[in-house]
C-alpha cells in the first residue's frame, strides 16, 4: 500500500517538472513559429511604418538608450551603496533602514513605478514623456539588483586581501579601489547583466513614462517606445500577433545571451575561489 503511495507521489513530482518544461517549450516554440517569417535584415534595421511591413530599428535604439542611461546612473550609485553597506557601515538603525528601503523597492510593482515616474520625472521635473523620464524610473527599479549583487560579490572577497593590503600601510580607500573592487568585478558585472535583462523586459513603467511615439528618438528628451511597449501596442491595437512574436524573438534571444553571459561569469568567479 505504502509502495503504491510512494510511486504516486514520485509520479506527481515528475509530472510537475515535465509540465514546467512543456509550458516553457510551448511559449518559446509559439513565439518562434509565429514570428520567424518576419525575421530578416530589413525587419531589424528598417524604419517603422504605420501601414505595416516596417522594421523595429527605432525601438531597438530606444531600448539601447534606456539601458545605457539607467546603467550609467544606477551602476556607480548601486556599487557605492553596496560598498558602504559591506565595507564602511556599522550595523545599526541606519543600515537597517537602508536595507529595508532597498528590499521594499524590490517588491514595488512596475505599474507603481510608472505612476511615480509620471508624476515626478514627467510632470514635476518637467522632463515630459521621454526616454530620460523612463530611464530615471528604471534606474530606481534596477538599483536594488545592483546593490544586492555587488554586496554578494564583496562578501566573497577574502578578508585576508583587506588585511594584507591594510597591513602594507594603505588607506581604506586605496584598499577598496586597488584591491577589493577589482576582485569583485565579475560579481558586479553579472549584476549589471541581470539589470539589463530587467530593463529589457520592463514594460508598464516605460509605457507610462516614455510614451508611445514610434519614431527614431531625436534625443533623450524625445518620447519613444521600447521593444516591449511596441510588442504590447501592436498586439493591443492591431492584434498583430506575428509582429509581436517577431519582436518577442529578438527579446528572447537577447535575454538568452545575457543569461548565458551571466552564468559564464559566475562560473568563472566560482572557479577563481
Amino acid at each position: 500500500m505504502n509502495k503504491v503511495k510512494d510511486h504516486l507521489l514520485q509520479g506527481i513530482l515528475w509530472i510537475s517538472a515535465i509540465l514546467t518544461i512543456v509550458i516553457l517549450v510551448t511559449i518559446i516554440g509559439f513565439i518562434f513559429l509565429k514570428g520567424y517569417k518576419l525575421m530578416n535584415i530589413s525587419f531589424i534595421f528598417g524604419d517603422y511604418s504605420p501601414t505595416g511591413g516596417g522594421g523595429i530599428w527605432p525601438m531597438i535604439i530606444t531600448t539601447i538608450y534606456t539601458i545605457m542611461i539607467s546603467l550609467v546612473i544606477a551602476t556607480p550609485i548601486g556599487v557605492f551603496a553596496a560598498v558602504y553597506l559591506q565595507e564602511y557601515a556599522k550595523q545599526g538603525r541606519l543600515v537597517r533602514m537602508i536595507r529595508f528601503a532597498t528590499e521594499s523597492l524590490t517588491g514595488i510593482p512596475s505599474i507603481i513605478y510608472g505612476l511615480f515616474g509620471a508624476v515626478f520625472f514627467v510632470a514635476t521635473l518637467n522632463f515630459g514623456m521621454s526616454i530620460i523620464s523612463a530611464s530615471l524610473t528604471l534606474t530606481i527599479i534596477i538599483l536594488p539588483v545592483v546593490i544586492r549583487t555587488t554586496e554578494e560579490a564583496l562578501k566573497t572577497v577574502p578578508q585576508s586581501y583587506r588585511e594584507g593590503s591594510l597591513a602594507l600601510g594603505t588607506t581604506k580607500l586605496q584598499t577598496l579601489l586597488k584591491v577589493i573592487l577589482p576582485s569583485a568585478v565579475p560579481g558586479i558585472l553579472s549584476g549589471i547583466i541581470l539589470s539589463m535583462g530587467r530593463i529589457i523586459g520592463e514594460s508598464a513603467a516605460i509605457f507610462l513614462t516614455a510614451g508611445t511615439v514610434a519614431a527614431l528618438p531625436e534625443g533623450i528628451f524625445s518620447s519613444a517606445r521600447t521593444l516591449t511597449v511596441h510588442s504590447y501596442l501592436v498586439t493591443q491595437e492591431a492584434g498583430d500577433i506575428e509582429l509581436a512574436s517577431a519582436i518577442g524573438i529578438v527579446l528572447i534571444v537577447i535575454i538568452f545571451v545575457l543569461n548565458l553571459t551571466a552564468t559564464y561569469i559566475s562560473n568563472k568567479l566560482n572557479k577563481a575561489d
Partner: protein, 296 residues
C-alpha cells in the same frame, strides 16, 4: 620633506573622509527614492479625498467606475485582483513547489542541467510576451473548448499569472529545500522511512518558511502584473461571478486610463495605485515576518 609628507597625508585623509560620505549618500538614495515614491503617489492619490470631498470608503466599496460622471468605485477591481491572484496560486503553487522538490531531491543530474536554465529563461521572458501568448493561444483555446463568446476572461488571467509566477516559486522554494540539512534526511531514512515519505513528511515541513516566502513573492508578482493581464482580461468593469467573466483588475485600470486621464480622474488612478500599494505593503510585512521566523 616633512612638510610635503604632511600635505600629502592631509590630502589622503580628506579623500578618505569624502569617499566615506559619498558612499553613505549613495546608500541613502534607496531610502530617498522609497520616500519620494510613497509621498508622491499617496499625495496625488489622496488629494481628491482630502480636498475635493470624495469619500474614501465609497471609493473602496463603490461598484461604479464612470469617470465622466465623477463616479469612482474600485470594489470590482479589488475583488478581481484578489480572485486572479488566489486562482493563480491554486494552479501555480503545486506545480512550482513540486518542480522545486523534483529539482532539489530526485532529479537526475542531466535533467537538472536542462531544467534549471529553462526555469531561469522562463523568469527572464518579458511579461508582455506572456500576454501575447495568452491572447493568441489560451484565449482562443478557451473560446473554442469552453464555448465562450469572448475568451478574454478571469480564467485566462489566472492561467497567464500562474505561468508567470512559476519561476519565482520554483527558484525560491528550491533554495529553501536545498538548505534543509542533510542530517534530517539521513535521520528519517535511517528509521526505515521511504524516500518519498521523507521528502513529504520531513524535508518539505522543514523548508516551510522558505516555501511560504516563495508563495508570498509569487503573489506579489501576480497582483502587480499589468501588461500581460491587459491583453487577456477583457477589461469589463464588473464583479466577476464566474471564471469566464471578462474582468479588470487594479493594475490594468491604471495602465488603460493613464494615457488620457486628467484632473480628478487621473488622481483617482493614483488612488487605485494606493490600494495596490497597500496590498504590496501587507505582503512585504508578511514576508518580513516569515523571514524573521525563518532566521530564528
Amino acid at each position: 620633506m616633512s612638510g610635503f609628507m604632511e600635505k600629502s597625508n592631509r590630502r589622503k585623509y580628506f579623500l578618505e573622509k569624502l569617499s566615506g560620505k559619498l558612499f553613505l549618500i549613495c546608500a541613502f538614495i534607496s531610502v530617498i527614492s522609497l520616500a519620494l515614491i510613497i509621498s508622491f503617489v499617496f499625495f496625488k492619490g489622496f488629494r481628491p479625498f482630502v480636498a475635493e470631498g470624495y469619500n474614501f470608503i465609497q471609493f473602496l466599496l463603490g461598484y461604479d467606475w464612470v469617470p465622466g460622471e465623477g463616479h469612482f468605485g474600485v470594489f470590482p477591481m479589488i475583488v478581481t485582483s484578489l480572485y486572479a491572484t488566489i486562482g493563480a496560486l491554486i494552479i501555480g503553487v503545486p506545480i512550482g513547489l513540486f518542480t522545486a522538490v523534483f529539482l532539489a531531491e530526485i532529479a537526475p543530474k542531466p535533467i537538472v542541467k536542462i531544467l534549471s536554465p529553462a526555469v531561469q529563461l522562463l523568469a527572464g521572458i518579458p511579461s508582455v510576451l506572456f500576454g501575447v501568448f495568452g491572447l493568441a493561444v489560451i484565449v482562443p483555446f478557451l473560446q473554442n473548448y469552453l464555448g465562450l463568446a469572448k475568451g478574454q476572461s478571469l480564467i485566462a488571467v489566472i492561467i497567464v499569472l500562474a505561468i508567470m509566477m512559476l519561476p519565482t516559486i520554483v527558484t525560491v522554494s528550491e533554495t529553501a529545500i536545498r538548505s534543509v540539512p542533510q542530517s534530517y534526511r539521513e535521520g528519517s531514512l535511517a528509521l526505515g522511512v521511504s524516500e518519498m515519505r521523507t521528502i513529504f513528511k520531513v524535508v518539505i515541513p522543514a523548508a516551510k518558511s522558505g516555501i511560504m516566502a516563495a508563495i508570498v513573492l509569487g503573489m506579489g508578482r501576480a497582483i502587480g502584473e499589468t501588461m500581460a493581464v491587459i491583453l487577456v482580461a477583457g477589461n469589463s468593469l464588473m464583479i466577476p461571478t464566474s471564471l469566464t467573466d471578462s474582468v479588470r483588475p487594479l493594475t490594468t485600470n491604471i495602465a488603460l486610463e493613464m494615457g488620457y486621464a486628467a484632473g480628478i480622474h487621473q488622481e483617482m488612478l493614483f488612488a487605485t495605485g494606493i490600494v495596490l500599494f497597500s496590498f504590496i505593503l501587507i505582503l512585504n510585512f508578511i514576508l518580513a515576518k516569515i523571514s524573521a521566523k525563518g532566521g530564528q
